[in-house]
């Protein structure tokens, strides 16, 4: 059994695929490519593909990750090529990394995610709101859970916020918590901006990268390339 970490993009319209749709689409691409995917044992065998961190429907990504296991050792480049030949437009494998050393699953090491939120809004309003986010001690928001609504403080989940103005569009670049201890949905930040008086007429969200933490935040592909 050989483990690979694949890094892929979810661009264009395929960002409207759900987590399960994405998983199924990867599985079928693997089958069409005749790659020897490992299946779980038991009544209902499942292919060994696990996406590091589910992405909400409608959010694009330049840095998605999945662990896959193959029965045979295949060159990273070959795996990438075969998958790309069989994926729909918009889903694109950027990188394949063969994991030789014993490392935990990608899913278990993710600590943070970087997003770029593109906004059409008044830049001044945005600036003021971002300042407020930075200076606020707590930011309390209602979070919908299975058992109802719960108030949580999202401030400690915001690691970094930056803004840049590019003509009509404003970019809000954020690094926020994304781990099995809890993840902040970037759309919650939009709500905060609205609470702080920003009138948003259009937005689009792209996940840029996933990070783990060894003293500093390290991008997942970098981490898994470490010996």
């Amino acid at each position: 059994m050989v483990r690979y970490l694949i890094k892929f993009q979810k661009a264009d319209l395929v960002k409207f695929l759900s987590h399960l749709d994405t998983l199924r689409t990867l599985h079928r691409a693997i089958k069409r490519a005749k790659l020897p995917i490992v299946y779980s044992k038991g009544f209902n065998p499942h292919p060994s593909i696990s996406i590091a961190s589910p992405l909400s429907v409608g959010i694009g990504s330049l840095g998605e990750y999945a662990d896959i296991e193959l029965e045979e050792d295949i060159k990273e480049e070959e795996l990438k090529e075969k998958l790309n030949q069989n994926l729909p437009r918009g889903l694109y494998i950027i990188d394949c990394i063969k994991i030789i050393s014993k490392k935990p699953s990608a899913m278990s090491v993710v600590e943070a995610a970087a997003y770029q939120i593109q906004l059409i809004c008044n830049f001044k309003e945005l600036q003021e709101a971002v300042e407020k986010i930075k200076n606020q001690k707590n930011i309390l928001k209602l979070k919908r859970t299975k058992s109802g609504e719960k108030e949580i403080d999202i401030k400690p989940m915001i690691f970094d916020v930056e803004i840049e103005n590019k003509e009509e569009i404003n970019n809000l670049n954020v690094l926020i918590q994304n781990s099995n201890k809890g993840s902040l949905n970037p759309e919650m930040l939009l709500e905060v901006l609205r609470d702080y008086g920003v009138d948003i007429s259009f937005f689009t969200i792209t996940r840029l990268e996933l990070y783990t933490k060894i003293r500093d935040f390290v991008a997942l592909d970098e981490y898994f390339r470490l010996p």
Binding site: V14, D21, K31, P88
Partner: protein, 622 residues
């Protein structure tokens, strides 16, 4: 190209329905083709993408270099609202171009309750609803099983294709390309295709009515227009087109698997079943051909399940060999085989046992009626003994969940027949407990489902009235009261929808205005319980001054001119009358694999051969 703003897609449920871009989607440059065809299914993406017929036609038409066929589904209500609000016309998934710009807009008619969706889609596309109002733009064509009674949509269609459309559609496109190059009147094109077998152009005919509202006669407006429209069939399935690479959706659809079409037609002759009559004769693909098809489809789709499709799968003459060959070929690749469980007998329980060695999910049986008398009336050649043997075999093999399908409101049904459903279900429970404890799996569950019978054209019951809604409801209540065992669940379909189905399945062209009126009142997605508005429908009938009971509840005389009489479906009216009379006498008609029953289809075919492709005339008993 239509631009669908991202914020709309973020707002609606299941946005993947609207994006296209699937694996094996055909990509062409629309400026380089002569014909653009919008293949429409009047229901949501997940339903439409599960339908085999449009998959075949989509890929078939795209084999033509001069044609680009694209797909269109009904947007769900949330998306429709956004489209109307933002002035987005109905577009095709491939290019996102508005279908108004296309040459043809084709709809498949799978069930009557989708007709308001067709109207809604034409409206969303900004195409005039009535054929007479279309001076330019696409021709609107309908096909599919419900087109065997085309009349309720007569004023909407430019033309219909009756029967299997693969060849006829190609012939229509050939003439279209020439007509388009030459330039000419729309009428001129329609006159040309009216000579193609299977093509029906409703505007070429006048209907005269009797005083009592029945049809007096149908008159061609010109001498040259055909008096009878003969359905189309594909003679040799082994040589007919079948796609090698189905579109693989990016989001889950209802039948999310490879569909391997094993054969067409059915020989059983159940008297309520329209499919069993209109798809005659039986034509099979050979096992070798099917294995070859399966190999390509598995490679090109990446699906992990192959479903063998047909009307009655265990009647495939080489079923055992086919199933075993597929299992042994694909076991190691984790590709499973499934059978649509429609007609299950003891033989097939063993077969399904082979297929599902580990997981024993539910098994479905369709005795259709509760007493032997009633089953004889409908010519369902299944006995109580057959059913008990089958379920006993299933229980012994480890199944514990059984579904039983029945119809209520069948012709000549008595309360005793309805009670028979409860008694039969009880016997299934008893069969379970008759087994020693160690031989059965714990947790018995028997589900009884009843649907309300809808008389259909081209069946021996086409002259029969439907039971009144109140009667059906009474029968449902009565049956509920007769089911005592805690192991049996009973569920039933709403009889209001069945009533409307009965109206439109045997309706005439005076109903087009009711369809439009009902749509104006907000009726759409009528097949979806949550959107079905019975009161709006009744208002529409009233305002159009049409009595729906005339169509649903009236017993027709055998010599009445029926709205679909001008269609030759291959099965003769004499045969249908004979079968109707035998039903009244509770007499069975044998499966025609045991010997021809003279339904007329052999006269219809050149050479008169049934069972094309079958290796031998096997009939599985039961």
């Amino acid at each position: 190209m239509v631009k669908i703003p991202e914020d709309i897609l973020r707002k609606v449920q299941k946005p993947a329905r609207y994006i296209g871009n699937e694996i094996n989607m055909v990509v062409k440059d629309p400026s380089k083709v002569k014909v653009r065809f919008a293949m429409c299914f009047p229901d949501v993406y997940e339903v439409g993408m599960s339908h085999l017929g449009i998959k075949i036609l989509y890929h078939l038409l795209n084999e033509r270099e001069d044609t680009y066929c694209e797909r269109v589904f009904a947007p769900w209500v949330d998306m429709e609202e956004e489209m109307r609000k933002n002035n987005i016309p109905l577009y095709a998934l491939e290019t996102k171009d508005p279908i108004k710009e296309f040459d043809f807009v084709g709809f498949t008619l799978q069930y009557e309750m989708s007709y308001t969706n067709i109207i809604n889609m034409l409206d969303l596309a900004d195409i005039p609803l009535l054929s007479k109002d279309r001076e330019s733009g696409p021709f609107v064509v309908f096909g599919g099983p419900s087109a065997f009674n085309p009349e309720p949509l007569a004023d909407i269609a430019d033309f219909f294709i009756i029967g299997e459309a693969e060849e006829a559609l190609v012939e229509v496109l050939d003439l279209y390309v020439k007509w388009k190059e030459r330039g000419g009147e729309r009428l001129n094109f329609l006159e040309q295709i009216a000579n193609i077998q299977g093509v029906y152009v409703p505007q070429f005919y006048d209907i005269e009515y009797n005083e009592d509202g029945t049809i007096k006669r149908m008159i061609p407006k010109k001498d040259g227009y055909p008096k009878v429209i003969k359905k189309r069939i594909i003679k040799d399935l082994n040589r007919s087109y079948y796609p090698e690479a189905f579109i693989v959706p990016l989001t889950e659809i209802i039948h999310d698997r490879i569909m391997l079409e094993t054969f067409r037609g059915c020989t059983r002759g159940c008297r309520f079943c329209q499919a069993g009559m209109i798809y005659r004769p039986v034509r099979e693909r050979t096992t070798n051909k099917l294995i070859e098809m399966a190999e390509k489809l598995v490679n090109n789709t990446g699906y992990d399940e192959i479903s063998l499709t047909s009307l009655s799968i265990c009647d495939y003459s080489d079923i055992q060999n086919l199933v075993m060959s597929l299992i042994s070929r694909y076991e190691k690749d984790k590709v499973g085989i499934s059978l649509p469980s429609l007609r299950i007998d003891a033989f097939s329980v063993n077969l399904i046992n082979e297929i599902q060695k580990v997981r024993k999910t539910g098994l479905t049986f369709a005795p259709e009626a509760g007493t032997q008398r009633m089953r004889d009336i409908i010519n369902k050649g299944v006995t109580e003994e057959d059913l008990i043997n089958s379920v006993t075999a299933a229980f012994k093999s480890g199944w514990n969940t059984i579904k039983l399908y029945f119809m209520i409101g069948l012709p000549f049904e008595t309360m005793e027949d309805v009670e028979g459903i409860a008694l039969l279900a009880q016997k299934v429970v008893d069969a379970y407990f008759a087994l020693p404890k160690e031989k059965r799996t714990k947790g018995l569950s028997v589900t009884v489902s009843t649907s309300s019978f809808v008389p259909k054209p081209f069946t021996p019951f086409q002259w029969e009235p439907q039971d009144r809604i109140e009667t059906l409801q009474e029968k449902q209540r009565f049956l509920k009261g007769k089911i005592k065992s805690k192991f049996i669940n009973y569920n039933y379909h709403e009889s209001y929808i069945s009533f409307l189905e009965a109206v439109f399945s045997r309706g005439d062209r005076r109903l087009t205005k009711v369809l439009i009126k009902a749509w104006e009142k907000g009726c759409k997605f009528d097949g979806w319980q949550e959107y079905f508005k019975f009161d709006k429908w009744m208002e529409a009938f009233k305002e159009c001054n049409i009595d729906p009971e005339f169509y649903a509840y009236r017993k027709r005389a055998l010599d009445e001119v029926l709205p679909w009489d001008f269609i030759d479906a291959g099965v003769s009216k004499d045969y249908l009358i004979k079968e109707y009379q035998k039903a009244m006498e509770c007499k069975l008609t044998r499966d025609c694999r045991l010997g021809c029953t003279a339904c007329g289809i052999t006269k219809y075919l050149e050479g008169g051969a049934c069972f094309n492709g079958a290796i031998f005339n096997k009939v599985s008993k039961g």
